[in-house]
C-alpha cells in the first residue's frame, strides 16, 4: 500500500495515497468542520465549509481534496476562518431564525457550526425563499424553508435506498429539494423510510407529529390507552437522554410509559414471536405444499411500499403476515379488549417505533381488521424521548418494570427482530425445531448477524436443506430481488429484507445521529438483550401458546387469517398520482 507523508498544521502524518485531506487531518487529531459531507454516501465538496489551505492558489475542500507528498495543510489561517464563516453566514442569511421552536434545536449541525465558528449576528440581509412545507405524507414532513441544499437526503434516497423519490429542482437561488414536478411526498415513490431525516443536518425533514394526539388520548378519561414498544426502541431510547447507544433500557422505558399515563404497557416483541409462528408455518407450508418461493419477510413497512412500487411482480413472494405492529394492533382491539372486558371503541392504540414508515402503515385502509383503525398513532423513538422530556421523566432514575400481560411476555427471538438478520435467525430457531422435532444445540445463527449487505447460508434441517438470504437497506434489497427476478440462481427459499441499514435499529425514527458506529452499538445491545432472556425461541413463549389456545386456534388458522394476515397493493413507479385517482 503506497503511502503519502504530509503535515497538517505542522503535525506530521502518513496516510494511504488517494486519501482526502479530511482523513489525514482526522488521523493527525485535527478537527475540520464539515456540513454537506456524509462519509461514503455524499462526498461532493459542495458546501465549502471544510476548506483548508493546501498551498494552492485557492482554498480546497478537505472532504474531496486528495493528499500529496510533502503537502503542508493549514486548517486555521485567517483566510480559512473567514471563508468558512462567510459560507455559513450566507447559508444563515436564507435560513429561518426560529431555532428555539425547531424540532432539531440543540441537535442541529448548522446551529453547532455557527456556534463553533463564533458567528454572532447576521451580516447578510438578502432575499429569503418562501416555500410551503409539504405535510402530505403520513410519515415525513418536508420544510424546504429550512433546507440548506446539502443534498445528503438526495444521496441517501438514491444510493442507500435506491428509491430516488426526491431530487433538486431548478437552479441557483430557486433550487428546491422535492419529488419530481414539485409533487407531494404522499404522491411520490417515497417509501417513508425516513433515512433522509437521519442525515438531514437541519430541521428540513422530520416525522409527522403523533405527540399531540397521544397526549390528547392520555388525558381523555374515556380512553383506555395501550402502548406497544418495538424491539429496536429499547436499545436506542437512552440516547435521547444522553445515554450510550446500545444501552438496554427496556425496564426503565416500561416504567416511564406507565408514568406518562398509558393504561396497558405491552410489547411488540410479543407479536414478533407471533409473527415467527405464523411466518414459520407459512414457510413450512410453502416448502412442503409447493407455494411461491422464495418467501420474503413482510415486517418492514418501508420495504413493503418499495416492493409495491418497484417490484410489484414479486408481491406473491411476500409472506402474507402483517408486521408485528399491525398484528398487535388487530389483537389489542379484539383479544385484549375481550380479555379485559373493554369496549374496543374506547381503546386508543399507540405504538413506539424506530420507524417513520410505520406511521404510513397504520393508516393503510386494510389495517382495520378489528373493525377500527387497529393502531391509532405511531410515535418514533425520538418522539417518545420528547414526551418523556416534556413530562420530566429521567430514565436513569426509574426502576426497571415489567410489561403488562397478556401481550407483554417476550423471547430473545423477538428482541433480535430489531437487527438485520434477526427475523431470519428467529425463524430458524423455530422452524428448525418444528421440522426436525429436535432441540437446537446452539440457538445462535451467527451468519445472520452483522452489517454485510447481503448474507447467505444453507441451513440443514436434518436432511432438508434450506437456503436463506438476509439483506438490509433497499439498495441491497434490489440486488436480491434482481436475482429472484433472474430465476433465483442461488436457490433461496427464504429471504429476510429490512428497509433500513442495519435493520430497525437504524430506522428513520431513531435518535439522531444514527451512523454506522452507532448502528453497530445498537446491534450489540440487541444481542445482549437476547442473551439475557430466559426464553430465546418464539414457540417456547408461554403467552404465545396461551393466545393460540384461548383465541387464535392455530397458526394460519381462520382467526389468524382474519386478523394477522394481509394483502398488498401494486403501485408502480410512474404516474402514481393518476393510479391513486383511479382507485
Amino acid at each position: 500500500m503506497a503511502t503519502v507523508k504530509l503535515t497538517v498544521d505542522g503535525v506530521p502524518v502518513e496516510v494511504e495515497a488517494g486519501s482526502t485531506v479530511l482523513k489525514a487531518a482526522e488521523k493527525a487529531g485535527i478537527n475540520i468542520p464539515t456540513l454537506c459531507y456524509l462519509e461514503g454516501i455524499h462526498e461532493v465538496g459542495a458546501c465549502r465549509v471544510c476548506v483548508v489551505d493546501v498551498g494552492a492558489k485557492a482554498l480546497q475542500a478537505a472532504c474531496v481534496a486528495p493528499v500529496a507528498e510533502g503537502m503542508k495543510v493549514l486548517t486555521n489561517t485567517p483566510a480559512v476562518r473567514t471563508a468558512r464563516k462567510t459560507t455559513v453566514e450566507l447559508i444563515l442569511s436564507n435560513h429561518p431564525d426560529n431555532c428555539p421552536s425547531c424540532v432539531r434545536n440543540l441537535n442541529c449541525e448548522l446551529q453547532a457550526l455557527a456556534e463553533s465558528l463564533n458567528i454572532r449576528g447576521n451580516r447578510f440581509e438578502g432575499a429569503r425563499n418562501e416555500w410551503t412545507p409539504d405535510v402530505s405524507s403520513h410519515s415525513i414532513v418536508r420544510d424546504p424553508n429550512k433546507c440548506i441544499l446539502c443534498r445528503r437526503c438526495v444521496s441517501v434516497c438514491e444510493k442507500v435506498q435506491g428509491v430516488q423519490a426526491i431530487g433538486p429542482i431548478n437552479r441557483g437561488f430557486n433550487t428546491v429539494i422535492a419529488p419530481a414536478f414539485g409533487e407531494l411526498l404522499a404522491d411520490s415513490v417515497c417509501v417513508n423510510c425516513g433515512q433522509c431525516i437521519l442525515v438531514c443536518p437541519v430541521g428540513a425533514l422530520y416525522e409527522k407529529d403523533g405527540i399531540a394526539k397521544t397526549w390528547a388520548a392520555l388525558s381523555d378519561p374515556g380512553k383506555h390507552v395501550v402502548v406497544q414498544t418495538a424491539p429496536a426502541v429499547r436499545v436506542a431510547l437512552g440516547e435521547t437522554q444522553g445515554g450510550e447507544p446500545g444501552e438496554v433500557v427496556t425496564g426503565q422505558m416500561v416504567a416511564g410509559l406507565r408514568r406518562l399515563g398509558f393504561d396497558g404497557v405491552m410489547d411488540t416483541d410479543f407479536t414478533a414471536d407471533l409473527t415467527i409462528l405464523e411466518e414459520g408455518t407459512e414457510l413450512i407450508e410453502r416448502l412442503t405444499k409447493g407455494g411461491v418461493l422464495p418467501m420474503i419477510t413482510s415486517c418492514s413497512p418501508g420495504w413493503i411500499k418499495f416492493i409495491e412500487h418497484f417490484y410489484p411482480d414479486l408481491l406473491p413472494n411476500l409472506s402474507t403476515c402483517k408486521s408485528p405492529q399491525q398484528m398487535f394492533g388487530a389483537l389489542a382491539k379484539t383479544f385484549y379488549a375481550e380479555k379485559k372486558g373493554i369496549d374496543p371503541a374506547s381503546i386508543f392504540s399507540v405504538s413506539i417505533m424506530p420507524c417513520t414508515a410505520k406511521k404510513f402503515e397504520c393508516e393503510r385502509p386494510e389495517m382495520r381488521d378489528s373493525g377500527y383503525q387497529d393502531v391509532d398513532v405511531v410515535l418514533t423513538t425520538r418522539e417518545l424521548g420528547r414526551m418523556m422530556k416534556e413530562a420530566g421523566i429521567v430514565l436513569d432514575k426509574l426502576p426497571e418494570e415489567e410489561y403488562d400481560p397478556p401481550m407483554g411476555l417476550t423471547t430473545g427471538a423477538a428482541v433480535i427482530f430489531g437487527a438485520t438478520g434477526g427475523v431470519c435467525e428467529a425463524a430458524l430457531r423455530t422452524v428448525y425445531e418444528v421440522v426436525t422435532k429436535e432441540p437446537l444445540k446452539d440457538v445462535n445463527f451467527k451468519f445472520c448477524r452483522g452489517l454485510a449487505g447481503v448474507k447467505e447460508a444453507e441451513v440443514d434441517l436434518k436432511g432438508t436443506k434450506v437456503k436463506v438470504a438476509v439483506s438490509h437497506s433497499l439498495s441491497n434489497a434490489r440486488k436480491v430481488l434482481d436475482m429472484v427476478r433472474a430465476g433465483n440462481p442461488n436457490g433461496w427459499a427464504f429471504i429476510e429484507v429490512m428497509c433500513c441499514p442495519g435493520g430497525c435499529i437504524g430506522g428513520g425514527g431513531q435518535p439522531i445521529p444514527t451512523n454506522t458506529a452507532i448502528r453497530q452499538k445498537r446491534i450489540d445491545g440487541t444481542y445482549t438483550a437476547d442473551e439475557r432472556l430466559a426464553i430465546r425461541k418464539s414457540h417456547e413463549n408461554p403467552a404465545i401458546t396461551a393466545i393460540y389456545k384461548e383465541f387464535l386456534g392455530q397458526p394460519l388458522g381462520h382467526k389468524s387469517h382474519e386478523l394477522l394476515h394481509t394483502k398488498y397493493t401494486p403501485r408502480g413507479r410512474y404516474r402514481i398520482r393518476k393510479e391513486k385517482a383511479a382507485d
Binding site: 426526491i166 431530487g167 433538486p168 429542482i169 437552479r171 414536478f181 415513490v189 413507479r573 410512474y574 393518476k578
Partner: protein, 173 residues
Amino acid sequence: MAAKAESATGAKLKLAPGQPLPADLAKEIDVIIARYDGNPSSLINILHEVQKAVGFLPEPVLTHVAEKLGVSVADVHGVVSFYTLFSMKPKGKHRIAACKGTACYVRGAPRVLERIEKELGVKFGDTTEDAQFSLDIVRCLGACGLGPVAMVGDDVHARLKPDRIPAMLKPYR
C-alpha cells in the same frame, strides 16, 4: 425556421399531468430513445430531440422518457428544470430571447425586460395566452457592445430602450 413548425405542435398539445401520452406521440419519442439505445447517460441528447419534436417538455412527456429509460422522474425533471434551454411550457410562435448578461444588465436590460413583460402581459419564462410570443432570459448573445440586446426569432434587436419596445414588437404582432 423549424422553430415555428415545432411551436405549432406544442401549442396544440393539451396534456394533463399524470396522463399517459397519445400513442402516436409516444411512438415518436420511442424512436428517438431507440436511436440512443435507450441509454440513460444520453438523457440530455434525448431530451433535446424530444423537445425539438414536441416543441416543449410537459410532465407526461418527461414521465414517459423516464419510464422508457428506467430512470427516476426526479432525475429527468432535475435536468430539465436545471438547464434553461429546456422548457416545460409550450413556446410561442415568436420566441423572444432577451439578454440579462452583465454588459446588457449594466446598460439597462432590467428596464427593457420589464417593458417587454408589460407590453405582452406575461412574465419571462411564460408564453402569451394567444401563443404568439414566449419570453426567455438568456445570458449573453455575444453582442455586448450593442447591449441591451434581444432576439425575436432570428432577428437581433440592439441598443434597446424601454420606449423602443412597442416598435420592436409591432412587425411580429
